[in-house]
């Protein structure tokens, strides 16, 4: 209910209401915020890593809207977003990382920063302009991170990930039912990939998700970039692309289970 049904319903309503003004992508952050509301509430003191993730998640769509409506997306811009996301990951987790040995800092801090930066950069560069691919990436990454986090002993992060998947699923479902792609842009892609990467990083640093599982999860958006038949209908594309992402997410979850 907290991580799946309620976020899905909210995501569906937001997509239906805002798709016509190219803001249907807000479904993903609305779904995530719904889960936060039910699971932990919007408290920001003391500012823990989890609360920093929530703060950045709420700020991400604002940046996304600015990119979509204010400036033109470029490769350099996507690179800068990726770099900023990696730095943000280090900012979030540094209080915990700084208490660890240097080798651990490099390993898990590096894995978190690289995963978040790659997901954000890849998503913005290759998926943001293709709403079906973007939706499939959000769906696979959200559910993958959610299940992996639960296997890593963090139900809170699990629910946050699943909510992300639910919101992305709602965004994708509307496109499947309408039979034509919607608009994703940075409004959808930035929060979807940022939240997925940060939640995976949190499940690794604060719970027990192995670093190699996080790196596999970071590859989920690549699955949404794989080719699909050019003449396939929107629902067929959505199903096939989601399947690709589920396979990669499944590998990450398998690794988390057996860690």
């Amino acid at each position: 209910m907290q991580g799946g049904v309620a976020p899905f319903v909210v995501g569906l309503v937001v997509t239906l209401l805002l798709q016509s003004v190219r803001l249907g992508g807000l479904a993903v952050v609305a779904a995530f915020a719904t889960a936060v509301y039910f699971v932990a509430g919007f408290t920001f003191s003391p500012l823990t890593a989890t609360r920093k993730i929530v703060l950045l998640a709420l700020a991400a769509p604002v940046i996304g809207i600015f990119i979509d409506f204010g400036v033109k997306t470029t490769r350099a811009g996507a690179g800068m977003l990726a770099f900023a996301a990696g730095v943000a990951a280090l900012w979030i987790f540094w209080p915990v990382l700084s208490q660890k040995e240097m080798a651990q800092i490099w390993l898990i801090g590096g894995a978190a920063a690289i995963a978040v930066a790659f997901m954000v950069g890849f998503g913005q560069m290759f998926l943001a302009d293709h709403a079906v691919r973007a939706g499939a990436a959000g769906l696979g990454a959200g559910l993958g991170v959610g299940v992996a986090a639960i296997l890593a002993a963090s139900a809170t992060y699990g629910l946050y990930g699943i909510a992300l998947g639910a919101g992305s699923g709602a965004f994708l479902l509307v496109q499947m039912l309408r039979g034509k792609p919607g608009t994703a842009g940075a409004t959808f892609m930035l929060p979807a990939m940022l939240i997925a990467g940060l939640v995976a990083g949190g499940a690794m640093i604060l719970a027990q998700l192995p670093w190699y599982s996080v790196l596999v999860l970071a590859l989920v958006p690549v699955g949404a970039r794989l080719p699909v038949p050019a003449r396939a209908r929107v629902w067929q594309q959505a199903m096939l692309l989601s399947l690709y992402t589920f396979i990669i997410a499944g590998i990450a979850c398998y690794l988390a289970w057996h860690s």
């Binding site: 699971v39 932990a40 509430g41 408290t43 003391p46 823990t48 890593a49 989890t50 209080p95 915990v96 208490q99 639960i150 296997l151 890593a152 002993a153 963090s154 139900a155 809170t156 992060y157 949190g202 640093i205 604060l206 719970a207 027990q208 988390a256 289970w257």
Partner: protein, 197 residues
């Protein structure tokens, strides 16, 4: 004459002031533990756990009926007896260490610092203080159920020890996961022994 009288009074009062000085005790980590109890599945059973590592100090001034308590608990040492994951992905103790509950990576300690110690007759009655858990500090009152001071039977070192209980709402400290399936009210049971410094 008056000088001599004053000196005599000071000399007479000296033993009293010495006996009224607070005595400092160091908590014995091998005989001091914080246990907790919480409702499981809406009160189906009361589950128990404890923190294996506790350290701190207390002072006692029996004559002035004052004292203080300063305890630090390593939250990383939490255990409920379920630390083997078996065929599951993770054990309950591993789950308790995540941000769902004690978030030990970010908050490796929980502290209690007394603000007021009340006596009931010659014995400790209750200890009011501030509990800091997950970075949040809230007032908590511990009721002392047993308190005794005596020399250790073998080493003859002076020591004091006892038991205290208290109740906190974990949601007050931001630990909201699982409520109400896992109860909000956390009963604390503290057993403490300390050697005089």
């Amino acid at each position: 004459m008056s000088k001599k009288l004053a000196m005599a009074l000071v000399a007479a009062a000296l033993p009293l002031s010495v006996s009224a000085a607070p005595e400092n005790y160091t908590i014995d980590p091998y005989h001091s533990y914080v246990h907790f109890e919480v409702d499981h599945i809406g009160g189906l059973s009361r589950m128990r756990g404890r923190f294996d590592k506790t350290a701190g100090k207390f002072t006692l001034d029996q004559a002035a009926k004052t004292g203080s308590l300063d305890v630090t608990v390593q939250t990383t040492s939490v255990t409920t007896g379920d630390n083997d994951k078996g065929s599951r992905p993770r054990s309950r103790d591993e789950h308790l260490r995540t941000p769902d509950f004690f978030n030990v990576a970010e908050f490796p300690t929980m502290t209690f610092k007394s603000t007021n110690v009340a006596f009931k007759g010659d014995n400790l009655g209750s200890i009011e203080g501030n509990l800091t858990l997950l970075g949040v500090t809230k007032p908590v009152t511990l009721n002392v159920e047993r308190w005794k001071c005596m020399p250790h039977p073998q080493s003859k070192k002076d020591m004091c020890g006892g038991n205290a209980t208290g109740i906190v709402k974990r949601s007050d400290f931001g630990m909201k996961f699982g409520i109400p399936a896992v109860g909000d009210e956390l009963a604390l049971f503290i057993e403490v022994e300390g050697y005089k410094e």
